[in-house]
Symmetry: C2
Subunit: 162 residues, 2 copies
DNA sequence: AATGAAAAGACCATAGG
DNA sequence: CCTATGGTCTTTTCATT
């Protein structure tokens, strides 16, 4: 009866964490490889993975693509300041920013600038156009601050020690 | 012979873009499902996907996990200013920041603050500890500015119109 | 929860159009 | 780029523990 599964937090035992780590490393790993790696039978492993996906612990499994290869070699962070912080304005702007073509992520932060928008564009001109057309054109936006990204890297992630 | 493949940029035709879009949506889609979706024979589709991965256009396929579910419900952006902008210092700090446990991404930007570090932590105390231990402790760091993240969303991405 | 085993399905390499 | 064929590996299902 092999199951030393330690629960270190809300419903996730060490086997689940091993599965998560593996799927972060390679989201296309086959179930059999995964089962071998975490030491489960294939059927059990498949069951666990399904449970993790259905419960939303695995939010999605998705390809990351080379931005230069799809014609968007320039990246920037555009910080956006709002005049009004009413819920309605925040929500509306959030939607609008997330919908910008080329927006990779939009973050709503506590601070002087309310949103950080990470964008990828084809050229500096396109960056200007994007900001003018989709951001500063909004009546509630008081200010933007744009920083060119020299290099972006992934961090070591979240499955090391707490 | 059915092949309307329009090249809109460097080596990528519209079929490739359809494949990329599908794999961004669901990186674990089977080759047969993908082939059906983009209207290719399975053999051809598999060939395309392999080419896209080998050429690095598909950088990786990876699971995104719910940060709260793994015990890190607090996110923040920590902006970091450096005293010296020598190549050596930049590189060293970049490595160090990317290695912080809980670091999701590290971005080197042109601006007053040189780095933006996106982190996920278990609690505000852990955030403080992380900053003190891994960031301000570095001799070249002159200043940090930290913003709590209220909400982070994915943008619409890069495969819409240029 | 976890397992093994069998049926169903997906994949790969190959050859030919 | 498509079809078609094997042979192999993978996933799923289910009765059992």
């Amino acid at each position: 009866m092999p199951s030393p599964s330690k629960k270190s937090q809300a419903g996730l035992d060490s086997t689940d964490r091993a599965i998560l780590a593996a799927l972060i490393e390679d989201g296309r790993m086959t179930n059999s490889a995964l089962a071998a790696r975490v030491g489960l039978a294939e059927s059990t492993c498949a069951y666990r993975v399904r449970a993790l996906r259905e419960s939303g612990v695995v939010a999605d499994i998705s390809a990351r693509i080379d931005l230069a290869a799809v014609g968007r070699p320039i990246q920037a962070v555009v910080q956006v300041q709002l005049a009004s912080h009413s819920r309605t304005h925040i929500d509306a702007l959030f939607d609008r920013l997330a919908g910008i073509p080329g927006a990779l992520s939009v973050v709503h932060v506590a601070g002087d600038n309310d949103f950080h928008v990470h964008v990828a564009v084809a050229s500096p001109e396109r960056l200007r156009d994007l900001i003018l057309e989709h951001i500063t054109s909004h009546p509630a936006v008081t200010k933007t601050e744009t920083q060119l990204i020299f290099e972006a890297r992934r961090g070591s992630g979240v499955l090391g020690p707490l």
